[in-house]
């Protein structure tokens, strides 16, 4: 009998597992895939190592910082800052028609750029920052308000508004067009007030260390262990049933599989609106270069681009929406040691159903076709890297679906979040993206917070 079974060895599941194992709970993480990390994973392809998932760790804080999400997270996991040793970004930009707004890990620089490009708006930007700080005291109702409405009431310059929403939604928007103000606040702070960082060895360094820590504490990690059913008796989880028929009795279940997906495992029909899956998914192309991007003048960390005046964040009709996207060079962080081969990653909104409907040959051809078109769109905003490409890879919404198990390959989960982590079933809780915290630090904190609140109390 386990104290807790955790579904999913992604960031949130691993963090929750570490907390529970540290305090001597008997805990098992079930991962349906052969690899850990969920969305934030890594793999080898033609002898090279690739990272997938987010480009950077948001919520950056330099060593010695005691406050804020990263510091809190490190204390909760008993991790010294040097173990992750995040290198800060070199500098990023939001590029819209006619305006480029640069930002770094120093908010004052961003505020000065806003003042330069949008006269009169800088005090309003500061009022928005103040509003972020106060929303938490206003409770859940304020957190669920439309961020579009709140931001419009403070910032009256439409283009600036769109430019602020662009990185925020790209980094965590589960719903089309809008986002809860609570989530907007968390993301805005993590990007503009704290900033971006990355371990030299990539996200895999963090994922691997978390898994090692979990196992060293006595936690059990089962790969290729796909949950078929969460068996419920009289309103409580009785056991978890795996695909191969194994039944695992447990006192509690903590699921990071997503809200609609978890409800389905319990055979709960519930009301359809409450289990609405997300629609937001992405393609991403990865280009390996024969040189460091900085050697040919490409020194920005992230470029968020949008080629129309309004930022249309929704599932596209076509396979991919090239009007907007994010371009990242993982080399462009201030590392203390060499960061490996040059690399460019380009992401753009994509339509899951269109990709899923392709037959294998069409799928292969479309990956090639859209790789080229993504690169073509990107070089309008960063120096042309195409003659330097020595290897490529590409993932699509169906890849995301395969690795994360999320319906529609919805990268940030379902649009309705469940902040308190509880479900209609007494001893079943959820963590991860559908609990409402996003980004790497956010999702780790989600696992910790739910474990602390419900599973470490007794």
């Amino acid at each position: 009998m386990y104290d807790t079974i955790i579904i999913g060895a992604g960031m949130s599941g691993l963090a929750a597992g570490i907390r529970l194992a540290h305090f001597d709970r008997r805990v098992c993480i079930l991962e349906r895939h052969h690899a850990i990390g969920g969305l934030n994973s890594f793999y080898r392809h033609r002898g090279r190592r690739f990272d997938v998932g987010l480009h950077a760790v948001t919520n950056y804080a330099p060593k010695g910082t005691r406050q804020g999400p990263l510091a809190r997270l490190l204390r909760q996991l008993r991790v010294a800052w040097d173990e992750w040793s995040l290198a800060p970004q070199c500098g990023s930009a939001i590029v819209f028609p006619g305006v480029t707004l640069e930002f770094s890990n120093h908010f004052e620089q961003f505020a000065a750029n806003v003042a330069r490009h949008f006269p009169g708006q800088e005090p309003k930007l500061r009022r928005l920052v103040d509003a972020l700080a106060t929303y938490e005291q206003l409770g859940e109702q304020a957190a669920c308000e439309s961020a579009r409405r709140v931001v419009s009431s403070i910032i009256d310059e439409p283009l600036l508004r769109e430019m602020l929403f662009c990185p925020v939604l790209f980094y965590g928007g589960a719903r089309e067009h809008d986002i809860d103000f609570g989530q907007f606040s968390v993301l805005f702070r993590s990007i503009f007030l704290e900033g971006l960082g990355r371990p030299t060895a990539g996200i895999r360094a963090i994922v691997k260390k978390l898994a090692q820590r979990f196992q060293a504490l006595g936690g059990e990690l089962r790969l290729k262990a796909r949950v078929q059913r969460i068996a419920v008796k009289e309103g409580r989880v009785h056991h978890v049933e795996l695909e191969d028929g194994t039944e695992l009795p447990t006192r509690n279940v903590l699921s990071s599989a997503g809200w609609p997906e978890t409800m389905r495992l319990c055979s709960l029909p519930a009301d359809p609106a409450a289990v609405e899956p997300g629609q937001i998914s992405f393609v991403e192309s990865i280009s390996v270069l024969d040189a460091q991007p900085a050697s040919f003048g490409y020194d920005r960390t992230m470029v968020f681009f949008n080629e129309t005046d309004t930022f249309d964040y929704r599932q596209p009709e076509d396979l991919v929406d090239l009007r907007s996207g994010l371009i990242c060079s993982p080399n462009n962080f201030v590392y203390t040691e060499p960061s490996g081969e040059g690399m460019v990653r380009i992401s753009a909104l994509a339509n899951f159903r269109r990709w899923a409907a392709l037959d294998p040959e069409q799928y292969r051809l479309n990956k090639l076709h859209w790789y080229d078109r993504l690169a073509e769109a990107a070089v309008r905003h960063v120096p042309d890297f195409r003659s330097r490409v020595i290897d490529t890879d590409m993932f699509t919404p169906t890849t995301i679906r395969r690795f994360t198990g999320r319906d529609n390959g919805a990268i940030y989960g379902a649009p309705t979040k469940h902040y308190d982590g509880r479900t209609p079933i007494d001893n079943l809780y959820i963590c991860g993206t559908d609990q409402g915290l996003v980004g790497i630090v956010g999702t780790l904190i989600s696992g910790i917070a739910i474990a602390n609140r419900y599973l470490l109390r007794n």
Binding site: F23, D24, Q76, A80, W81
Partner: protein, 86 residues
């Protein structure tokens, strides 16, 4: 355990929770919250570590006794006097 042993035990817990902190000049009479900027999640951890290591149960309404090193040692001394130093 003596008051000194308890102080030592608390320092050990604090250095596990906040491995980056230099605890050598921790002031006994100033609140952990102010010196180390510990938050409520961290206080819960101190309580849970005491339970894990020494089987000491601290009721929730008495968490406030753990504010500083001095108050923590005073509070724990009678409760830990029969515990063997590990």
């Amino acid at each position: 355990m003596t008051a000194d042993d308890i102080r030592e035990a608390i320092l050990e817990i604090l250095s596990d929770i906040a491995p980056d902190e230099d605890l050598s000049d921790l002031k006994p009479d100033i609140a952990f919250r102010d010196q180390l900027e510990l938050d409520s999640m961290d206080f819960l951890d101190i309580v849970m570590e005491l339970r894990k290591r020494y089987r000491i149960q601290i009721p929730e309404e008495e968490y406030t006794k753990l504010a500083s090193m001095q108050s923590t040692v005073e509070y724990l001394e009678p409760r830990m006097k029969d515990i063997e130093k590990s």
